[in-house]
Symmetry: C2
Subunit: 229 residues, 2 copies
């Protein structure tokens, strides 16, 4: 029997990373999910991540804590900066400085400890959120770094960064996730979700998500704080 | 008057990063020091970092907390793995998986928030510690990643990674630091320093440091737990 690969999967608790975990499982990997508590205001996504890890058969689930919020500079970590509820242009204030660099670095560390072969991250450049660290060229540069950064890389076994959602639209992601049995009702995407995980229906993340379900022609399973909005 | 550059300086509290901060100050930078509490057993270095930041005129000093220790896999974060006290070959067990990748990622985030032009890190490849993430090719790959990762990079102002110690020997670093007024007695290098910052005199970090002072012909100012060792 061939060895099933071991993978670290970054799991935020949103629909993209849940689908990414389902894909990693389908790829045959033993999946170790990693969520990051970075002081985000939508902490309900961490509870969602724990549920999703269990639902999708992750071998383990860890939450790494990091005081990124102390740096400020983002609507997701600084209570003084409001989450925008209108469509904006350019890089939005929900951008967290160097977030994906930090998250991938942590995942790389865990991959080294667990001797994982792959690192899955649900970055997506199509329904472009305007985040610089969600682009294919960023992922390629991180792979180059990972090829030099770790003991295992030096020993000839670098971890492979897999970003299976990179070129999918939100509708594509929903179709793919549904086909793999992802329970989207268990996921939390909203940037200002209530402690119970109820979505605002107005932020960028909510708008992209609702539009995705509309395009696919599926009922939107999201739990909204104001169902009659 | 030309604008003085702003820099984020990774400051562990050891002699290398202290010298690196002194160099950044000499370069004319307004320096914002960043230390990382990652669950290291030699926590006395964090106290040392605060002293050094003040002594060398840093504009600010932050300690970011990160639960890297939960991952295990290193003698520096796992109490079950002893710090070696004999010379070893290969990558030592004091290697912390992906540590410099994580630290540089955090510094990159802070540089983005502070709109810093430079990021100083005291990595050193000469008195080679055997760590894969202390090599020039690793630093170059991180620069490539930083050029793509942040809002400011996208806007044409990427941060420049400066590693002024990369090609210096430990003796060179001591000479350079002394010339810049670094108080090495305030620094803590030992991997298993006591809570008061007293050095063991036996680990790799202690051996390299003592050998450096011997080569330069300076009295070793290190406070040892056992002065008669």
């Amino acid at each position: 029997m061939s060895r099933i690969g071991r993978a670290v999967v970054l799991l935020s608790g949103g629909m993209d990373s849940a689908t990414c975990l389902a894909i990693a499982r389908q790829d045959g990997c033993e999946c170790h999910a990693l969520s990051i508590d970075y002081g985000q205001r939508h902490r309900a996504e961490l509870d969602a991540a724990a549920r999703i890890a269990a639902l999708l058969g992750a071998a383990s689930h860890r939450v790494a804590r990091i005081s990124l919020g102390d740096f400020g500079g983002s609507a997701l970590t600084d209570p003084a900066i409001a989450v925008p509820e209108q469509v904006s242009t350019g890089i939005p204030v929900t951008y967290v400085p160097a977030r994906n660099t930090v998250f991938l670095a942590l995942a790389l560390g865990l991959a080294e400890v667990l001797e994982a072969d792959r690192l899955y991250a649900g970055m997506n450049a199509v329904d472009y959120s305007g985040y610089p660290d969600c682009r294919p060229e960023f992922a390629a540069a991180f792979q180059q770094l990972a090829n030099l950064a770790t003991r295992r890389a030096v020993e000839g076994q670098p971890v492979t960064l897999c970003t299976p959602l990179m070129h999918l639209s939100k509708a594509d992601i929903i179709r793919r996730g549904q086909g793999l049995g992802v329970d989207f009702a268990a996921t939390v995407s909203c940037y200002q979700a209530s402690p119970a995980g109820e979505a605002c229906g107005r932020c960028d993340a909510c708008r992209l998500r609702a539009e995705g379900f509309r395009q696919v022609g599926l009922p939107d399973p999201t739990r909204y704080a104001d169902p009659g909005r």
